[in-house]
Amino acid sequence: MKKFIVIITLATLGFYLGQTFYELGFGDARFEHGVKDIYLEKTVSELHVANTITSIIVSFRGFDTLGEVTVLFLAATALGGILYKRRHHVGDRSVLFSASRIVRSGSKLLFPAVILLGVYVFVHGHLSPGGGFQGGTIVATGFLLMLLAYENFKVSHHVLSYIESFAGIFFVLFGLAGFYNGGTFLENFMPVGTMNNLFSGGVIPIIYILVGFKVAAELTGLIYTVLHEKD
């Protein structure tokens, strides 16, 4: 009986999905000149964003970015799931060994600078090259440096998962707020301001900062899981 219900549900879902995709008509020539000119023109005239790549990633193709972030989340979760069993069987064995005093002092000096660079890159994502993914990775590299230098450097998994979850939830909430205000997912509903200012571009910098926090938390958690076989 249970199997029957599952088959019926899947078939209904598949039918409607297939019908929707059929009606969309992938591969039809819907644009005469491509979309590149529209992107370039609307980035300057409507969104007031200096970096066209950021406006494409966060605004025009924001839904794809949500998918990318989800893929990264799934990969981190799967790795944690694979290593979970091992961590509890092997016992208290860290793969690290103690670093020399030079490395430890140098890491302590470099760590704040690396974190600052990462935060700069994702806060200024709409003005200069870079953005959430790049900045988040740089922040995670800073944590990796500290983990390599100090054997007993602790990162709380709870704090990381809270940051990750809240960043993801707020991403979707901002997208839904676009639905409520403008009519499409991730519609830019906030005032765009003047171009080249830090506070400009509406929701674009906010979403990129959220993506930065999410990527940084995910990659740091991933590195921590790989380096420590037991929590």
Partner: protein, 94 residues
């Protein structure tokens, strides 16, 4: 013209590092050579006016991937021959 020569030189450097990574039996050196490929690729992306991609390549290709490979080497064997020698011993006994 100088631009073309520079790009050609960087491409040759990448090719050389890649061949070195394949030929080298010491896996640590091979991993460092893969890091060099990423580094040169970063410069190449920057020359081709794609700074966003260059930043990604620098953060992921040079730093994260190299470190993860080095940790893997620490937990397994450093020389490629270590496994083959074991196989040779086995076949010699048989």
């Amino acid at each position: 013209m100088t631009y073309l020569i520079l790009i050609f030189f960087l491409l040759l450097l990448m090719l050389g590092a890649a061949i070195y990574a394949i030929v080298q039996k010491d896996l640590l050196y091979a991993v460092i050579a893969t890091g060099v490929i990423s580094l040169v690729l970063t410069a190449l992306f920057y020359l081709l006016q794609a700074p966003d991609v260059a930043l990604t390549e620098a953060a992921i290709g040079v730093a994260l991937t190299t470190i993860i490979f080095i940790i893997t080497i620490r937990n397994t064997v450093r020389h490629e021959d270590d496994y083959n020698k074991k196989d040779d011993l086995k076949s010699a006994v048989e």
